[in-house]
Symmetry: C2
Subunit: 351 residues, 2 copies
Amino acid sequence: MADIKKKATIYDLSILSGASASTVSAVLNGSWRKRRIKEATAQLIQNLANEHGYTANLQARGLRSSRSGLVGLLLPVHDNRYFSSMAQSFEAQVRSRGQCPLVVSACRDPDEERQVVETLISYSIDELFIAGATDPDGVHKVCEKAGLKHVNIDLPGTLAPSVISDNYEGARMLTQAIIERAQEDGPLSPDDLYLFGGRNDHASHERIRGFRDVKRALLGADPDVCIQPTGYSPAMTARAFEAFYEGHGKLPRTFFVNSSINLEGLMRFLALHPHETFADIIVGCYDYDPFGSFLPFPVFMIRQDSEAMITKGFAILDADRGPPITHQVRPTLVPPRTALTGPLDALKDIE
Amino acid sequence: MADIKKKATIYDLSILSGASASTVSAVLNGSWRKRRIKEATAQLIQNLANEHGYTANLQARGLRSSRSGLVGLLLPVHDNRYFSSMAQSFEAQVRSRGQCPLVVSACRDPDEERQVVETLISYSIDELFIAGATDPDGVHKVCEKAGLKHVNIDLPGTLAPSVISDNYEGARMLTQAIIERAQEDGPLSPDDLYLFGGRNDHASHERIRGFRDVKRALLGADPDVCIQPTGYSPAMTARAFEAFYEGHGKLPRTFFVNSSINLEGLMRFLALHPHETFADIIVGCYDYDPFGSFLPFPVFMIRQDSEAMITKGFAILDADRGPPITHQVRPTLVPPRTALTGPLDALKDIE
DNA sequence: AGTCATTGCACCATCGATTGTGCAAAAAAG
DNA sequence: CTTTTTTGCACAATCGATGGTGCAATGACT
């Protein structure tokens, strides 16, 4: 009656039912038809299992079958709308496949990335999504050695299949949008359009390339000084804005910010200066954040389709051993003052 | 040399070293001094282990010892700055204790909450943090039955120890702040101050209580109509704003929003209306979001100290079997246009 | 009735680690 | 040179599930 103490095992049910443990196992993991177990026996065992609240010990199962039902997602950080919404979609998709999501972050530190993945491997995870890794190929080697299937998301590697945002196209759309918007307020000179943020990774390169191509095409010139890669840190980005401000007494009229993390750097800068001074800036941000979209100046954003990337990632893993091709997913341009719906809207909310 | 295929086990090392598997095990899990293994033997085995890149199979270890090294955090959603930054702190703390974080969300659905926890239990997780659960006591029973240590975070239960934000005090601070700020623009009547969001949970109750107490004290009255619980959904919140707007041709001059999720509802409303109409609203939001803090109207925010909550949670679990007391952690009032540093700042960012 | 196929299930080794127990060899004590 | 103690390690059971193999009972068929 009151099984308050330990969890029931197949052995307990074996005794209760009079069947052998292997029969119980077969019944409870669904392979009983294959094993020609009588329907009546199966029923009996199922009932006992329900009655006693049996749930399989997944560590034992994993040990035996060397699969765990765990699927990993390696993130740079949680605390950011892009990655947290990726985590949200990831979780939903993993669950719908009957597996268990394992989301971890590694702070963009290549050593930590590898070490975290080692840990995941120790738990015999079945598949791994490597999102925004600083060193995807280093992680690849670790996975390879353990025979772990994996895909890169967001930042591509050269050794494993990758699914990334179409950064070049996204940057072009975004750049064009902010230029056109800025030109509504009067002619825009090349010196009025900057780019802040990003570092030496594929996404930044492509975004910068898109930015420069469009800028050159529309404004006729593209001085190097207008490109300010600051890394992915709010503090560094704030410093870059501050430096510009020191030199010019204002911010550039228009600028492209490489990610919402860099956009936080802008907030830090703004916090130190009266808002009125910058009432007329036009900003493009390569990432979408629902509050970022309503700042007191026009912010054009790029919404990356992390859900589609995850879906594509699973397709690749299911197709088993694709070549290390990079697939691009088209992002969308989000005009200022736009509140998109997201994973939150799937929440049940009674009352 | 090239162990490209399978992972090394203690048996492999046993053969290589000439020692028994149990000796290898003892050496590699650190219990070798206790087992009086010669230092030289230990060294030999350690070297072999490094050389062959040995890592323990944590499923096997977990099976044997019925501990997994996994610590769970159950969240309502990932996609939100409050919870994602909680996940970030949680991860850091779990890692620093040499365990592996397992963060999952259950969409505020009581059934899903219980089911997700069942799954975690099947992986023999060692401890569980239940954050923002709709039905903490239901989850408690599931844990109890499995002998799983757990604490409630953010929303308290009656059966297990809880660590929550001091919602009453936080709401008082926030309410007072927005009232005072609004009064700078002229006298504030009770009808000018509303509360939106929240539902039938402990946090909402306390926040509403704090709101009403301060409102009554400072404005002399506190009509029921000014309290608009909309649940935790952007869509419902947007609808409430819309309804008010329909009726009054404007938004309330000042209002308290129950959470950043509800604040997203305000964004949805704003997206449909020209900004100029609401240039003079004053908002308080019980949650902190770095972009929310820079919206085009004053937004006072409450920053809940999720890091401290997690720390306290571990303290409780370590103290083993405390009574089901609820501990409150004091949040901080964040004035408008404030960019706080967060877990992101711990990121390594070379270059 | 005798042979053969089918059904239904039990047995047992196995996954990789942990841990209580026992026993030689070496060291200390007498 | 015994006896006792300590040191250093091997053995084997165990955690809970899986899946290959084998065997008895039943039914089908000649």
